[in-house]
Symmetry: D2
Subunit: 332 residues, 4 copies
């Protein structure tokens, strides 16, 4: 049984709270949020205690691990504090929006050898995992091209866009991680083409909402990540991996399988309304994998280095967007 | 909050236990099983009390409703006892394998006006419900033909087959109910063609494992239910409704959406391994509908009459199999 | 090179004319039709000669085979005349609407040993053939159930319905043949449930437009043929064969593969507008197989006996409809 | 009736010959090929005459249009000669591999006002056309992203690769045209990422076999063309267009629709074996559109300017590959 202190119980913190509560191998013992009332409500429903400060929870004997789901700007400090307190950490991405600070944080906490996991939950999607397995099983042969499609139903509020770090650091970063993971390969060069086509306000905030990022991988393979902030037809996430022996696809998912034929058309139920409905199961699977790593004394995966690498790729993409040229990852 | 006494914590009882535990509007207060140890284990994990006898639970003040998930031969007695105790009932199907006893039980309990629900969980499958909605919305027009496909991955043990009442009463009965529900129509004549093709031991036990049952509905529509005890390719349940304005299908469901192209073939992930993996979500939805009915003071649906009608159809099918002729439902 | 005399150049005769013209192994030398003008037009475009009478064409030295595509009531006579003239025959189904006359015709022509093919073109559909191949290759194991779906877009004119022999003899008969062919098995008992749901005028003409026919096969397998005269969503023909080792399906065909996602729906291009657009390629394939049989000195397949057997099944179905009971094929 | 002289009866010339022969509005009157025997064989089967020289055919009174399907290096000369002879032209792409020569040729022939069509047959694929129609009908809204997938089953022989002009000019060029046509938009910047992953011999010949080309369109939309010379799973061509109102896809095509469920997999028939089986119907449709243009006195589409523009894009892509940077189309 792993005892958790949960930091942050906003939307994503509540998701983690549910996962901890329903996993038979985990228990929520402490909860902290800047909004004390919210923390108390969460505590009541789970039997956890409310911490006066993060430190209190981190010093508690009945805490094995910290789950950091607070606002982005607090991640690095909480991560460092947890490690100093000797507590394992499962931290929501990103570590920080400032790559320099990420590097400093990694440099500081890594030597401690405390188990640190980063919340790239998409790695645990059973469909994507099957593609991962097909590659590992040699079914695809040598990977030559891959396409990651990643399109949200509607843009986040402009207030969020402004502090999000931008599409590369906020949305596409998940797929920088996924590309590394699924392909088992490292990007060496990034070319990002972006545009503001969905909402001019996003452009005014200095961001883009539509992008195609081409990655050249160490193996020579080419990889595309296309991202949009707004589909109008639900949440559309797909992976396609093409290699010397075949093609594997993690297909577009429909929550229901109903079709209706009439006239000269066939109408099917469409996609999940949002990324959360599509990806919800991955949070529990991600927690489970983290717990298994702790129990088996292995390093959690994805780990701190994965968090850093995905963010480096996001920085390379941002630089490519700015300078309209392919950027070597080593430039970052 | 509806307080439940649960009778029976075998496989299906455990499923109901989980549903009661995770529904915010229900609480498990008492549990009874002939296997006392099993009852105690269930009680421990939920905070419920173990009843010495069904009566103890039914007399308890903190019981609003009985959930009957014990062995089939106890259903009628428990149903009667619950109603006498003034407790609402959600009863697993069938009411009893003996249609005379079902009728006697219905005659006895119905006048009391106690809310009784029957556990035809498939009615709550979101895919089937969408077909139901398309019909109600006029999208299919006047229904003319319907096909219900119902194929299990592997036959149950022969020991179970022998006490199951046979394929019509045990397996196909769910689809007699579903046909009535989805189409909103009553069968008036049944022709059943059956065979023992899967396992000769099933035939030796006097049962069949493969069947096509044609129903002629009051409206004139024709309806087929095909059932098999063994697919070898997972659990295959589908509905197709054809009418004057179009065709609606509740399609075959795949738990994962991955495809792999290689050579001259495309290989996709297949179906759910068993009926439970496919139908698991319907138990919670079924409980939820029952609770809503209680809260709103409405009769639960499916109710006692639905339980009886599905069983009458099963009897008509059994008679048709025996006499190799179409049987009018009113003959039963 | 096989030289053909074509009898009848109505709709289906024109289809055969095109097939003969475009097959490098066949040549149209004579054409006959009661409508002389139509025959002349056909002759002009192909270089064939117009026969004054069927006999003239059948006596011609430059005729190897007769293709009989004239009206149904002339089939038996032309078939007999062709065989007497020693010409091979490819005859459109049915041989005659009167089963007694079919039997008499078969008894008369069979001893001559002249190659006779019957135009059950659906046997040559590449999709259906693949299912046939999967069965023959052992991929399905022992066949246990099969479903043949057969739904036309719109009913034929009432004038045609009146002389068609009825849905069983006119529409379903193709699938009686297909079931025998695909499954490699013979029906022993037929139960037909029919209704007039599409157009009351069809019922007034003594016919049905909607039916489900259950066949019990010699092997024990159960088979359903469902037929409708009107879909409203194009031509819908499918085959599904279920056996001890798996399920094979010849799927619904869409002429175009385009999909459009918008809102909460996915809209796909629908089915072929009619049976002809769906089945057109099978005519050429059917002719080709007939020619190959002639060249190799083998009996054409499907042959005369196949034509008779499919019609016997149609009669059994008609008897079953009339008497509302399963009918043994040997009763016919 | 349009009378054609056909230049070249190699593989693609034979395809055009068949189209001319089977179109009721076209007639083949002359045929020329450097291989006189091949020309004679083609003439025999169609009733056309063999020309001693291209000039003889172009001077003939019974020639309305030249169909140029000879080797690439002869296209520009034949095109010029045809125009000088006042004959309409349907010319296989490319006009020439040397963009300077293409421009010179265009400059020379354009002022004559003779109708000239370029053989970008993919524009006539009914699936792609449907996407085109969805865009024109406003169903997609404002286009934001498009992905063109273009993967051949196996690389051409190295001897061909060496004279082909390379993947951009030989394979991807079709999709430069298709992108312009389907989207109704012009690329302004091209970034091409390429690799030699399929066969080292292709790399030794100075070419690539795998590429992802990003186009930035005038409208701001982003567009990807991914090309591979070898799939191992047949011919894979798809288009996906994403816009403010929805997503349209011209899906992967399977020549047969058969599926087989067994164990935990569903196996479907795969794709067409090669591009020709997939694209064969487009040649006749392309010819038909050209003839219609001539009959209606309109400029054929795609026309000469389209041929030039697609080749300019190929040049921009080649430059981008060489210099590893986005190239403005106006640089070419």
């Amino acid at each position: 049984m792993i005892d958790f202190a949960l930091f942050g119980i906003g939307f994503i913190g509540s998701v983690h709270l549910k996962c901890i509560a329903s996993n038979p191998r985990t228990r929520l013992t402490w909860v902290y949020d800047v909004n004390r009332q919210a923390a108390e409500k969460a505590a009541t429903s789970t039997g956890a205690r409310v911490a006066e400060s993060p430190e209190q929870a981190l010093q508690a004997a009945d805490v094995d691990a910290a789950l950091i789901a607070s606002s982005t700007n607090t991640h690095a400090d909480l991560l460092t504090a947890s490690v100093k307190a000797g507590k394992a950490v499962l931290c929501e991405k990103p570590i920080d929006l400032d790559i320099a600070r990420v590097r400093a944080c990694v440099a500081e906490v890594e030597p401690a050898g405390v188990p640190i996991g980063i919340g790239f939950n998409r790695r645990f999607d059973p469909n994507h995992r099957e593609v991962y397995g097909l590659i590992r099983g040699g079914k695809i042969g040598k990977v030559e091209m891959a396409i990651f499609t990643n399109r949200g139903p509607a843009p986040p509020p402009i207030s969020y866009v402004k502090v999000s770090g931008g599409q590369m650091r906020d949305q596409t970063v998940h797929f920088f991680d996924l590309a590394r993971f699924i392909l088992g390969d490292e990007p060496v060069e990034v070319f990002a083409a972006g545009a503001c086509l969905v909402d001019p306000a996003i452009g005014e905030a200095g961001d883009i909402d539509t992008s195609m990022v081409t990655l050249r991988m160490q193996s020579g393979a080419l990889c595309l990540i296309d991202s949009s902030r707004r589909t109008g037809y639900g949440y559309d996430e797909r992976i396609e991996v093409f290699g010397s022996a075949g093609l594997a696809e993690s297909e577009r998912q429909r929550p229901r399988g109903v079709s209706y034929d009439s006239g000269d058309k066939i109408v099917q139920d469409g996609l999940h309304p949002g990324w959360f409905e599509r990806m919800e199961p991955t949070y529990g699977l991600s927690l489970d994998a983290f717990v298994t790593a702790l129990e088996e004394g292995k390093a959690p995966s994805p780990g701190l280095a994965d968090g850093l690498k995905a963010q480096v790729l996001a920085e390379a993409a941002v630089k490519s967007l700015r300078e309209n040229r392919p950027v070597r990852v080593e430039e970052i």
